[in-house]
Amino acid sequence: MAAAMPLALLVLLLLGPGGWCLAEPPRDSLREELVITPLPSGDVAATFQFRTRWDSELQREGVWINLGRSSVMSSQGSSAPLSTSSTPPTQSLPLPPSNPWVWPMTLTTTFCAMLCCRGRWSAPKTSPPGRSSCPVVPRASLISFHLLQAGLSVLLKADRLFHTSYHSQAVHIRPVCRNARCTSISWELRQTLSVVFDAFITGQGKKDWSLFRMFSRTLTEPCPLASESRVYVDITTYNQDNETLEVHPPPTTTYQDVILGTRKTYAIYDLLDTAMINNSRNLNIQLKWKRPPENEAPPVPFLHAQRYVSGYGLQKGELSTLLYNTHPYRAFPVLLLDTVPWYLRLYVHTLTITSKGKENKPSYIHYQPAQDRLQPHLLEMLIQLPANSVTKVSIQFERALLKWTEYTPDPNHGFYVSPSVLSALVPSMVAAKPVDWEESPLFNSLFPVSDGSNYFVRLYTEPLLVNLPTPDFSMPYNVICLTCTVVAVCYGSFYNLLTRTFHIEEPRTGGLAKRLANLIRRARGVPPL
């Protein structure tokens, strides 16, 4: 069945070496980790990350990694790692490391998937971007997970995941250096899944959470293939005083680091630590708030963005992205990648970028116009954001008429536009120490930066919903009938005029009706016609 295709990947990934066939017997390692971050509003964000590293010498130009029935195509060469991600149609809350800040909006629960399956790859028809290398798709169809019940993937139960208020999945494939001198290359595959659980649904009004409440499963045993299997819980507020919250079971070790410019503390639960699992047959991490947390506003990040469509009517509109730089004195550049579907025809001569009321010219623009039904528009710009400012990027578009078979079953719902992707190196207030590839947790090494004075951030704006002019769906019948009629009228008139000539009409002498009428008239005594 269709859902079996993508599941095959994860199944085989966790099953064993029988699934893939490479040139040499693979030496690889699997690390898995789960990071749980309570958010200031009381919701809980959980990010799963699975990292597989192949130590074989694979070709530089790209390699087919055959994992059973579905395959994953890696990127071209060592200079262009491939990563794709999908973000949901709406999202609501600030998130742990992979998605630092997202503007709040209304809630829906739609599961977006772009996970490493070849069929899925070609469907959204994204175009290879220039520098950001990060195509995104909004709102793909549902994929259900049926995974091996081992390690952290035991928590990925589909029905609980569908009840979350935010989902995001990503796949990253890239070459990594095996040692400091980079004499040999390994390939790394990272799969991440971020979910945000709504406090009211999971906690029944209270802000306490536990693994069982969120996922309806607990951790029982580590994955036999994994070299590392850990759960990190963000307990930054814990350290201020011991009266705010309580984590059960109490962690044996903690990890402290500067993540995204702020110092954070994590409690570590290592599933491979036999002492952890042996105490009870399962591990159910719980957090209880001793004192209700103050509802303070979360600190505003240095970079956040917002996007909207303006205009009225179904003929045209304007797409605007607002980029906020709240750093008090530092300006930094941002790489903005926009993928707009072909049926919104962008007019790049209407592109305007203004900061603080003045025009801001981007240092680099790459624009690839769309081909109808083949590829979307690709607009990539490097914009310098002045300190403490709002930059508005706006572009006008025209809405196209689709062929009547291209409309979805509910065309008045609208069509989705992928989020824009912003990549930036944000200056950090607190210096971070450099990342050690093998020792650091996975969430720290996903986007490593060489110096600690800034941190890399990849932001996704909201996906948008735009309406297209919809024909009436009875139109094919009407059009065929009436257009044929019009053409027949034209053809008939022209045929008459072209093939016939004028003749004097002879008066008709006979005629049955006339003779009958004359008969009656003679009977009445009236003169005949």
């Binding site: 179904l314 116009p369 009436l482 257009t483």
Partner: protein, 411 residues
């Protein structure tokens, strides 16, 4: 005759300049009845800015103009309004001189046929006199310049106006008798949109007749045809070398014709443009200019993205056939149809796209009605033309066998 023409030109330019300066200019330039994806000014600007960005304008699906338009407007982009006003003026001047010469030809031919006794005795009131034909060229220029459709097209800066200019110059050079120049203008017009190719046939017929060659002589036809064809090929070849890309225009066969509905297989509709050329050539071989008029009208009705600019071109010719007025049967109804449909276009578009209350069926219906109106108008003029020809050769006051007034029917 120059002074009234200059006056008409001044009035036309004033009206256009006033509209350019008003707030209506932007509103008009987005109307779907006035501009099409093939002739929109916004897309020309977009193509030029794509070129500035270093991207080929043809790599997307937005720009459908020819490279010659890029070259033309690369330097003249700041004077675009002036360019379009000048093109309209040039079209009117070309039509003026063309019709002036055509009237002379008509009069000469009429005189010849009268001397040869080809006409029936009682058709004196159908014979045209130079006095009545004196003001026709001015009326043609007036009809073109002050036609609301032309003014809207010009204010919207639709490139259809440039196509009209090229076709008008083609007509002028054909009537003047210069085969080389008419081939050049026809090649330019065909280069921009494929449909003027059908005007090759009436142009050829006219040139053959003015050179007093019997058009039935196959050899003569072939030599002239070869001459024109080779000129066409030469020109297209030159364009290809100069511009690098033979034509930016590709008939958008798969895009739904906005005015004729959403039918995906509209290919057969485009065939209609080319389909009537040969039958019309057979029937109207003695009257190539009338044939050209009918062919231009057929192009305006059946082309893939028709706009009001195409309609304006053949409407300019109505004063040339005003002697047919007495034989037109439905002129009142058809005028009402055209006017009412023109008024309803923006209303129904607004209701569908902006108000969301009507649906596309309404707009589609009104475009169909407009097309029906145009078709009936053209066939009415055709009927009147043929009827007048019949009367000229058979006499105006026809009687039937029993002495009563005769009825003429097409059989």
């Amino acid at each position: 005759m120059a002074a009234p023409l200059v006056l008409v030109l001044v009035v036309a330019v004033t009206v256009r300049a006033a509209l350019f300066r008003s707030s209506l200019a932007e509103f008009i330039s987005e109307r779907v009845e006035v501009v099409s994806p093939l002739s929109s000014w916004k897309r020309v600007v977009e193509g030029l800015s794509l070129l500035d960005l270093g991207v080929s304008p043809y790599s997307g699906a937005v720009f459908h103009e020819t490279p010659l338009i890029i070259y033309l407007f690369h330097f003249l982009i700041d004077y675009a309004e002036l360019v379009f006003m000048i093109t309209d003026a040039l079209t009117a001047i070309a039509l003026y001189f063309a019709i002036q010469d055509f009237n002379k030809v008509v009069f000469k031919k009429q005189k010849l046929l009268l001397e040869l006794d080809q006409y029936a005795p009682d058709v004196a009131e159908l014979i045209r006199t130079p006095m009545e034909m004196r003001y026709i060229p001015l009326k043609v220029a007036l009809f073109y310049l002050l036609n609301p459709y032309t003014i809207l097209s010009c204010v919207a800066k639709s490139t259809c106006a440039i196509n009209n200019t090229l076709i008008a110059f083609f007509i002028l050079t054909t009537i003047k008798g210069s085969a080389f120049l008419s081939a050049i203008f026809l090649a330019l017009a065909t280069y921009q949109s494929l449909y003027p190719l059908t005007l090759f046939v009436p142009g050829l017929l006219y040139l053959l007749q003015t050179r007093h060659i019997n058009p039935n002589s196959a050899a003569a036809v072939h030599t002239c045809e070869n001459e024109e064809q080779s000129l066409l090929d030469l020109f297209l070849g030159v364009c290809h070398d100069v511009c690098g890309k033979p034509s930016g225009n590709h008939l958008p066969l798969l895009l739904p014709s906005q005015l004729l509905g959403f039918h995906p297989r509209s290919l057969w509709l485009y065939i209609n443009v080319f389909f009537y050329t040969i039958p019309l050539a057979i029937k109207l071989k003695e009257h190539p200019i009338f044939f050209m008029f009918i062919q231009i009208a057929v192009i305006a009705i059946f082309k893939s993205y028709p706009t009001v600019g195409d309609v304006a071109l053949y409407m300019a010719f109505f004063p040339v056939w005003n002697h047919l007025y007495r034989f037109l049967r439905n002129i009142f109804v058809l005028t009402c149809i055209i006017i009412v449909c023109s008024l309803l276009f923006p209303v129904l578009w607004h209701l569908w796209i902006y108000a969301g209350s009507a649906n596309s069926n309404f707009f589609y219906a009104i475009t169909l009605t407009f097309n029906v109106g145009q078709i009936l108008l053209i066939s009415d003029y055709f009927y009147a033309f043929l009827r007048r020809e019949y009367y000229l050769t058979h006499g105006l006051y026809l009687t039937a066998k029993d002495g009563t007034e005769a009825m003429l029917v097409l059989k």
